[in-house]
């Protein structure tokens, strides 16, 4: 290996890369903007949706209840809902969003109440539809208040204390530090995002430096120079790796800042400060995630270059690499699934292991044995991938495929 030649190839590739708008977009702009847009978009969208849903006075229909004026009057008295006249097509009206929910009062409800026979009131709503869920919530709250009032009156009539029906109370207390609470909320997606974006950053340079060279006719030009294939591959690989690394650094930085902003925004919000959501990621976690992503970036760079080299054109390479994105997304997504936790076997599965360990790091858990295993195994996979890339560059059938 001639380091000078590797450096010359790398410098040239860097110059070209910095002048290429497409790779700059995928390497710099996407990771820089993805997180702020995602976070601010999520906050804005949820604020708008929840705000408008909360602002609306939901229309509620009462089914039956003619013989139970007490409960009907209690519902009508609630200013947070609007009771509309009964119609047979109430189910369609809920689906069509003309009304938000319907309350079905069983026949003889009032009489049963007086007798002390238990009865069930059904609240019909559309699950997944925010405004319908809010409507059902209002109805439930209203009925609960009516029931509590009824119980209270009955206890008073019999001269019994309120504590008779609630002899004790329960309360949950969180012992996890705020960092871990924040980490568990968002940690599962951080490793996933870093992995996906470090791959995204490597895709375009990998294509450009292999299939792109073939398509432009510069492959034969460079192969006619005295540079060895090994030096040529290493120079090109370093550029693809740099692009992947840049994307990883920018995405981690952008992510850290976005979550810091999100944490700040949420802690300033009176509605959510009590929910215990804390977004303090910490510099150590960010650096650790970045370090774990390093060997994975090497692996991505070498594999993407090798696969793209088989293609004759940019488009062909894109069609090869698109399915590869799914290969990366599947283990990365698997790590986000509830119940999937790091164990000695999973620590050897590339991508999934890094994603899982990033999840742990973000929650402040450092299992050094697992971290070392994952780092070392990913380094081994990366070294194998580089070796295959060099070998592929020496295959005439690949370089001059017709």
């Amino acid at each position: 290996m001639n380091l000078h030649a590797v450096g010359v190839v790398y410098r040239k590739e860097l110059t070209e890369w910095l002048r290429d708008r497409r790779t700059l977009i995928s390497t710099v702009l996407v990771p820089l903007l993805a997180f702020p847009i995602l976070i601010s978009g999520m906050i804005s969208l949820s604020t708008i949706l929840i705000g408008s849903a909360k602002k609306e006075v939901p229309k509620i229909m009462i089914i039956h209840g003619e013989d139970s004026p007490g409960v009907v009057d209690a519902l009508k008295a609630n200013k947070e809902i609007e009771v509309v006249p009964y119609a047979d097509n109430w189910k369609d009206q809920i689906s069509d969003k003309q009304i938000r929910a319907a309350v079905e009062i069983p026949e003889g409800f009032q009489a049963s109440l007086d007798k002390g026979t238990p009865q069930t009131i059904q609240i019909h709503y559309y699950e997944g539809e925010l405004k319908s869920e809010f409507g059902a919530e209002h109805v439930e709250k209203s009925l609960k208040a009516y029931r509590d009032d009824l119980v209270k009156k009955r206890l008073e009539a019999k001269n019994l204390p309120d504590s008779l029906i609630a002899p004790f109370d329960t309360k949950q207390h969180n012992v996890a530090p705020p960092e871990k609470v924040g980490g568990s909320t968002i940690g599962s997606m951080i490793g996933y995002m870093v992995i996906i974006l470090s791959m995204t950053g490597a895709i375009y340079p990998a294509i450009d430096l292999t299939a792109g060279e073939k398509e432009r006719g510069t492959m034969e030009t460079i192969l006619s120079s005295p540079v060895s294939r090994l030096d040529l591959v290493l120079g090109k690989f370093l550029l693809v790796f740099s692009a992947s690394l840049t994307t990883a650094i920018l995405s981690v930085t952008s992510m850290g800042l976005s979550f810091a902003y999100m944490g700040h925004a949420l802690s300033n919000s009176a509605n959510t400060s009590g929910a215990g959501i804390h977004m303090n990621l910490g510099l150590t976690s960010v650096v650790a995630v970045f370090l774990m992503a390093l060997p994975l970036s090497v692996l991505f760079s070498a594999v993407l270059m090798t696969v793209a080299l088989f293609a004759k054109t940019y488009k062909e390479a894109q069609s090869y690499l698109t399915p590869m994105t799914f290969i990366v997304v599947i283990p990365a997504v698997a790590s986000v699934l509830p119940g999937v936790e790091l164990n000695p076997k999973l620590a050897l599965i590339p991508i999934l292991n890094t994603s899982l360990v990033c999840k742990e790091i973000i929650t402040g858990t450092y299992h050094w044995g697992s971290i070392a295993t994952i780092f070392a195994s990913t380094c081994v996979y990366a070294a194998i991938a580089i070796f295959i890339a060099v070998k592929t560059f020496q295959r005439e059938s690949v370089l001059f495929r017709s």
Binding site: A5, K12, T15, G217, E220, S224, S225, V227
Partner: protein, 249 residues
């Protein structure tokens, strides 16, 4: 000099099986001389020249270029060769000067030598007006000059041209032809392939006619004319290749 010794190249094709692109081709080309390799499309010209430039490795046989074996020392061979073909394009996002500098550095030139060589070549080829222009903004003629400068930067003793004028306009083709003649006059060993007979008649000291991967005929233009009792080179090629081509058809 170039000394091709029983060069052969076979490829594996999934549909057609083994393809013998070049079979047992031997010839010599001396410094200060131009060797013209003639043949139809698919005759084996490009594969032969690519083996000489070490872009492809021979399946059998070898070639000695400037004293180096193409199989044993491919990198030293490439350092002794300037290779130009219509397939050797330029990097679109580099300027003409950066393109030439890149190849100078890959050839191990130190910075002062590189600068001096670039100034000399750019002046000689009248390239100073576009030296800082990106290659994707250059005209065809400018691109060809930049490619020539790229092949000359390390002052190689051997020049290999694979159909260098194919698809070029008359003026650009003239620049290339002039450049090939200039290489010979400077004592370089030159080999080139072409379809254009006028170029062969004007430039070549020695001619090889290749067909089906085999070198069928070799000699000076005068020798070939005498042997086939035919003045027109195109007719000579038809006489040499024709029977085989008809048999294949």
């Amino acid at each position: 000099m170039i000394d091709a010794r029983a060069l052969s190249k076979r490829f594996q094709d999934k549909k057609r099986g083994e393809i013998r692109a070049v079979e047992n081709v031997s010839f010599e080309c001396q410094p200060g001389k131009i060797y013209g390799l003639l043949g139809a499309n698919g005759a084996g010209k490009t594969t032969t020249l690519r083996m000489l430039a070490t872009i492809l490795e021979p399946t059998d046989g070898t070639a000695i270029i400037n004293g180096f074996d193409v199989v044993e020392h491919p990198e030293k061979v490439r350092a002794s060769v300037g290779f130009l073909s219509t397939a050797t394009a330029l990097y679109p996002r580099l300027t003409a000067q950066e393109m030439v500098e890149y190849f100078g550095r890959l050839n191990g030139l130190d910075e002062p030598t590189l600068k001096k060589r670039i100034d000399d070549i750019f002046s000689r080829l009248d390239m100073n007006t576009f030296r800082d222009r990106r290659c994707d903004k250059l005209s065809t003629g400018m691109k060809q000059k930049t490619s020539i400068a790229r092949t000359l930067i390390h002052d190689p003793p051997v020049m290999i041209f694979d159909e260098p004028t194919t698809g070029l306009d008359v003026m650009t083709a003239r620049t290339i032809i002039g450049f090939i003649a200039d290489c010979r006059d400077r004592g370089k060993t030159v080999i080139f392939s072409t379809h254009i007979m006028s170029e062969v008649e004007r430039l070549c000291d020695h001619i090889g006619i290749i067909h089906g991967g085999k070198l069928l005929e070799e000699g000076t233009l005068t020798e070939l004319r005498a042997k086939h009792n035919e003045h027109n080179l195109e007719e000579i090629i038809v006489k040499v290749v024709g029977p085989l081509a008809n048999a294949e058809a």
